[in-house]
């Protein structure tokens, strides 16, 4: 039997795919967002909203997170929410697009803050606004908003990254400590800050909010919002302070994402 005949017999199997889990309405909605952003991007400053790899999202936060099994999570890390299929715009369904429905919320949130939702000037044009989910490892979705500000007199520009990611228990890990706080809707979040100190003596480094969403099929899906500051090359190890309002920014973003 020839190879071509071999494949001819399998065309029926090839075309037999299950029903899609997405709809044309969703595509049109996201297409409108894409169209709107493309228009807005043309007038925007050179700041970033880029896709990042989920595990890399957590990379800079070493010392904050550990690779922990779900049973080792502290009681405080367990959300106070009832078990639900979706939390706000989050759908912890163990798929790569867990945060896909959050684009609108993130965009709306960014418009009300100093955080831009714009271009990364270091990315080639073809990658502008590329969907984060295209580059995520399975099980994790992440987005990053970035901005810069003038540093202290002896520092170059200070860069700030606000990262939003969602992973599964063993992949993302949970904070080993931190302060347990109650968010606006009653959910519990763990807040940690790396004890880094900026040149001006103020605390800084990495601030993280983690909300453990209800487990799906026994797997916990944490939402992680972390804000990291760093400065340009040549100032390694001199972590600049978090800017005023960083805590409020991270917290309000978490609350926006999980709000019904």
């Amino acid at each position: 039997m020839s190879e071509i005949h071999l494949l001819d017999e399998r065309r029926a199997e090839y075309h037999a795919v299950d029903a899609p889990e997405f709809t044309v309405d969703e595509i049109v909605r996201r297409g409108r967002i894409r169209r709107r952003r493309r228009g807005a991007a043309r007038g925007a400053a050179a700041v970033a909203a880029v896709a990042v790899v989920g595990t890399a999202v957590l990379g800079p936060s070493s010392g904050v997170f550990r690779q922990a099994s779900p049973e080792k999570v502290s009681p405080a890390a367990t959300t106070s929410r009832p078990v639900a299929a979706a939390v706000g715009c989050l759908t912890p369904a163990l798929k790569r697009d867990d945060l896909a429905r959050c684009e609108d919320k993130i965009y709306e949130w960014a418009q009300l803050t100093d955080w831009p939702m714009s271009l990364n000037f270091r990315n080639p044009p073809s990658e502008k606004h590329r969907k984060a989910r295209d580059t995520m490892p399975e099980g994790t979705f992440g987005m990053m908003l970035a901005r810069s500000r003038p540093g202290e007199p002896d520092l170059a520009m200070v860069f700030e990254e606000l990262k939003i990611s969602m992973g599964r228990g063993a992949l993302a890990g949970f904070p080993s400590g931190g302060e347990s706080i109650t968010l606006a809707d009653g959910s519990t979040a763990i807040v940690t800050t790396v004890p880094a100190t900026g040149d001006n003596g103020a605390p800084g480094g990495v601030l993280s909010y983690v909300v453990a969403l209800p487990p799906i099929d026994g797997v916990r899906a944490p939402l992680v919002v972390s804000l990291r500051t760093y400065t340009a090359d040549g100032y390694a190890g001199r972590t600049p302070a978090l800017s005023n309002g960083s805590d409020a920014d991270a917290r309000s973003l978490v609350e926006a994402l999980i709000a019904s």
Partner: protein, 171 residues
């Protein structure tokens, strides 16, 4: 054409395109979730450009297929370091009772997954989508000769793999 009319036209196209593009994406992306992401992203891109496509493109479906193929190949070049493939346990659970049909289908997909990305793409476009060499070359942005040699190499591997994997040796 009003915006509403344009949207209606796109919706009708997208309904048909989802059916046409998903098998291609599933067979070439290896990961079903990534495949669906790819289909959605392709159609979102087409939505943004739909007014222009409606005016200047003769065959929007072929255009969509080319966008999908090139997006996937570009992603695979860019993300070569990323080798993990998601396995959907639920999907396997749902289809595990279909006996030989499932076994045969798994064999096809498993065999395709063994091919290098461009060989897989060329074989799927040429022999499962049934496109002529010229159209495959246009979609993959290469020459017809490259399509023929790539397809030949892929088929050689597939023959061995499918022969090995097909249940009861029946083919």
């Amino acid at each position: 054409m009003s915006p509403n009319e344009a949207d209606d036209g796109f919706r009708a196209f997208a309904e048909a395109a989802i059916t046409r593009l998903r098998p291609l994406a599933r067979a070439t992306a290896r990961d079903p979730h990534r495949a669906d992401d790819l289909v959605q992203t392709t159609l979102e891109k087409l939505y943004v450009a739909w007014p222009r496509i409606g005016r200047t493109v003769d065959d929007p479906m072929a255009y969509a297929r080319t966008v999908l193929v090139r997006s996937l190949l570009a992603d695979q070049r860019r993300l070569r370091w990323f080798r993990e493939v998601l396995v959907d346990d639920h999907e396997h659970a749902e289809t595990s009772d279909h006996g030989d049909i499932v076994a045969t289908r798994v064999s096809l997909m498993a065999a395709l997954a063994e091919l290098p990305p461009r060989q897989r793409m060329a074989v799927v476009l040429r022999h499962l989508e049934g496109l002529p060499v010229e159209d495959v070359a246009a979609a993959m942005d290469c020459s017809g000769g490259t399509v023929k040699s790539t397809t030949s190499a892929g088929l050689t591997t597939l023959r061995r793999l499918l022969g090995d994997l097909t249940p009861n040796g029946v083919n």
